[in-house]
Amino acid sequence: MPRVIDGRELQPPEPLELALMALDTLPDDEELTMLLYCQPHPLFDILRRNGYRWTETVQDDGTHEIRIRKA
């Protein structure tokens, strides 16, 4: 069951806080999906440093959908 964080109504850094907590318990074979109105570069920096990979798609309403899993 994929985990989803909808950070579109949250003030920074709340989406990042939720993502960090979720990643801490994310099993290797599961992915975390984030929905945001921006590209979360601070999160990307963290993911890069800690061995995660991600894909990003932008929806018509401007939502960035970011799918994260262990590299």
């Binding site: 109504e9 003030q11 920074p12 850094p13 920096d45 401007g62």
Partner: protein, 433 residues
């Protein structure tokens, strides 16, 4: 859609913080000076006290805080690679403070050598800042309204400093330059070209991101900077020593651009996705109301010549623009940026499974709200000083208290960062021998 922040290029936190922590000291000095001078500071735009007060706020408070914001914002949000930010901050920060102090002293004691020294220090320092930040903004691959706005803002800062140094030389000697027109154009470029365009460029990013509003309309963010630039170029015609009648329309047009930006910002705030009010949002709201107040004042001036000629009218406009618009907006912005930078820098020192403390713990919400009320009380009292000059002293004291409280709140946040960072470092495993 929100813009993007890249944190890998962020400078050390000490770079912006030294500017942020110094700015309130000049605010305290401005408040105390108003309290000391009282009615004489309010009487005329050209009084020594009024000029000293203006520059304590414009160079001491605003330029310090805005330089810190630019040093942080250009690499992180505009993708610009600022050359050796630590070294640049080490040079610019003390020079700005000394230059501001010297300029204020020059106004108060009328010493030619102080005017010349202040002009030389500020022109050199701002010139260096403009070259370093301007190069980063010209080289960045990023595009968009914020980059355009910031590029023109930095150009506006250069023009302001050049005109300011010319004025300082004019005041130091007996140059037969048109000093009134020079001062009008200097103020226009400083407040409109530099301060307003920087505020707008940063707002395009941070208002939607932190206040959860829709994005600024593309037409506004695309056209505001070029229209304001054109307005300022037309305003600069008076440097030729003459002021044609149509200059009044240029003045109104410039204020209308500012009021348009303010109106859109208020509309965006009304349509924010989560209806939570925090000090940053309320500070911004107050700043935007003052910006609209400037336009309304100018319209009344145009319709009622007796008001336009009143000697205390420039003081009224100055209070609306400096403490009302820019000190309010900067104050609100600092309350969001400083805890956010604390959080991000602390997180970089921690692993995935650990979270820095909540941003609300870094500056107590109640302390920010109390300071905000004191600040707006000071702005209202200062405005009332245009009608009842005898309360200017009280207004100055209240403003000094507000700035002291701002400084205390920011120091609290900086201490929080330092203490928590030291705990993280102390808990980190020692490297193998």
């Amino acid at each position: 859609m929100h813009p993007n922040l890249s944190f890998e290029q962020a400078p050390p936190v000490s770079v912006p913080y030294r500017f942020f922590l110094t700015a309130p000291l000049f605010g305290v000095a401005a408040g105390l000076l108003l309290a000391w001078l009282g009615e004489s500071a309010v009487a005329s735009r050209w009084s020594d006290g009024a000029l000293a007060l203006t520059h304590l706020l414009a160079v001491g408070f605003m330029l310090q805080a805005m330089t810190g914001a630019v040093m942080q914002f250009v690499p992180v949000a505009a993708g610009g690679n600022v050359w050796r930010p630590g070294l640049v901050a080490n040079m610019i920060h003390p020079a700005l403070a000394i230059g501001a102090g010297m300029l204020v002293a020059a106004f108060l004691v009328h010493e030619s050598v102080l005017f010349r020294l202040a002009g030389a220090i500020l022109l050199t320092t701002v010139g260096f800042l403009v070259v370093v930040v301007g190069a980063a903004l010209l080289r960045t691959p990023a595009r968009g309204a914020t980059i355009l706005s910031m590029r023109i803002a930095v150009f506006g800062l250069a023009v302001t400093a050049l005109l300011g140094a010319t004025l300082a030389e004019g005041l130091a000697g007996d140059a037969s330059w048109p000093l009134v027109e020079l001062a009008n154009v200097h103020a226009g470029w400083g407040l409109g070209g530099w301060a307003l365009l920087l505020l707008a460029g940063v707002s395009y990013y941070v208002v939607p991101m932190f206040q959860l509003t829709p994005a600024y309309p593309a037409a506004l963010s695309r056209w505001l900077a070029p229209v304001l630039l054109l307005t300022l170029l037309l305003w600069s015609v008076q440097l030729g020593g003459w002021r044609p009648d149509w200059q009044q329309w240029v003045w109104l047009a410039g204020l209308a651009v500012g009021a348009g930006f303010a109106g859109v910002t208020l509309w965006l705030q009304q349509h924010r996705r989560r209806r939570v009010s925090d000090p940053t949002l309320l500070f911004f709201r107050g700043a935007m109301v003052c910006m609209i107040g400037l336009l309304l004042s100018a319209v009344v001036m145009a319709l009622v010549p007796a008001i336009a000629e009143h000697p205390r009218l420039p003081y009224w406009l100055g209070v609306l623009a400096l403490p009302g618009v820019f000190v309010s907006a900067i104050n609100g912005m600092l309350y969001k940026i400083v805890p956010f930078l604390n959080w991000l820098h602390l997180q970089r020192l921690m692993g995935i499974g650990m979270l820095p403390p909540n941003m609300k713990e870094m500056i107590a919400e109640r302390a920010m709200m109390v300071q905000m009320r004191v600040h707006f009380a000071a702005v209202i009292l200062m405005l009332a000083g245009a009608i009842m000059p005898e309360i200017a002293r009280i207004a100055g004291l209240v403003f000094a208290v507000s700035c002291a409280m701002l400084g205390r709140n920011l120091i609290q946040a900086a201490r929080f960062f330092r203490n928590f960072r030291d705990r993280i470092r102390a808990a980190a495993p020692s490297p193998a021998p």
